[in-house]
């Protein structure tokens, strides 16, 4: 019985490490796109994808630390990434983020 438990624990740790490395590689490539993106919308999309990758990283970290206290943080990162992407998109499209009177 303990053999199976240690085996599954090992599998979980190895999978977690592989996932951490994958998300770290993805973050590095996205950072490259943010720095050398030729146009502004590419930078905005890369920043949005960085936010989604951070959500995944927080979820993996909550598995690694065996805690459920990080679930609110994941939801919070998603909401803030959405709001910031929306603000950047409105600024690039119209020049104003909160327009005074809509038609």
């Amino acid at each position: 019985m303990t053999n199976i438990l240690t085996a599954t624990d090992n599998i979980l740790q190895i999978t977690l490490m592989i996932s951490f490395i994958g998300i770290a590689l993805s973050l590095a490539l996205l950072l490259y796109r943010v720095i050398t993106g030729p146009t502004q919308p590419e930078r905005a999309v890369a920043l949005d994808a960085i936010g989604i990758n951070l959500m995944g990283l927080a979820g993996l970290m909550s598995i690694y630390l065996v805690t459920t206290k990080l679930n609110d943080v994941i939801l919070l990162i998603g909401i803030l990434a959405f709001l910031s992407t929306l603000a950047i998109a409105k600024y690039l499209e119209k020049g104003v983020i909160i327009d005074r009177d809509v038609d």
Partner: protein, 142 residues
């Protein structure tokens, strides 16, 4: 000059703002024994109002939500000070907190703490400060 159409943004914004307000109330109430509290709840509420402002414009939101957010700051501070001064009524030092268990008809036994009322003051103050900053920056006339 083409005219922009915000149909997708407005449809999703009305749904997401609803979820955001629910999450804010959850964060405010769950702050006693899990992450959250008045500050994060206030920030989430101002995020929901900011989303409605970005989707529908300043005038529409002012018509739908006729709140002068500057007035929320003294109201929140008064609630916080009122709960602190209320401990004098029971011959206790300033800012004393207590809790008790009460029975409700449907919900059953619930632990109610007076720290919740202080959190409500923090919540109102944070919403007032954030919305005052955002709306006064958005309202500037050149």
């Amino acid at each position: 000059m083409y005219k922009t159409n915000d149909l997708i943004l407005r449809t999703t914004a009305s749904l997401i703002a609803f979820i955001l307000l629910g999450f804010a109330v959850y964060l405010l109430l769950a702050g006693h024994n899990s992450p959250g509290g008045g500050f994060v709840g206030g920030l989430m509420t101002s995020g929901a109002i900011l989303l409605m402002n970005m989707a529908y414009g300043l005038e529409v939101v002012r018509k739908v939500l006729p709140i002068n957010f500057v007035n929320l700051i003294p109201i929140g501070l008064a609630v916080a000070i009122g709960t602190s001064v209320g401990s004098f009524l029971f011959q206790q030092p300033f800012l004393s907190q207590t809790y008790g268990y009460f029975k409700f008809p449907i919900l059953g036994e619930i632990e109610l703490a007076t720290a919740m009322l202080f959190d409500l003051g923090v919540y109102l103050t944070v919403v007032g400060v954030m919305m005052t900053i955002i709306l006064s920056i958005a309202n500037d006339t050149e």
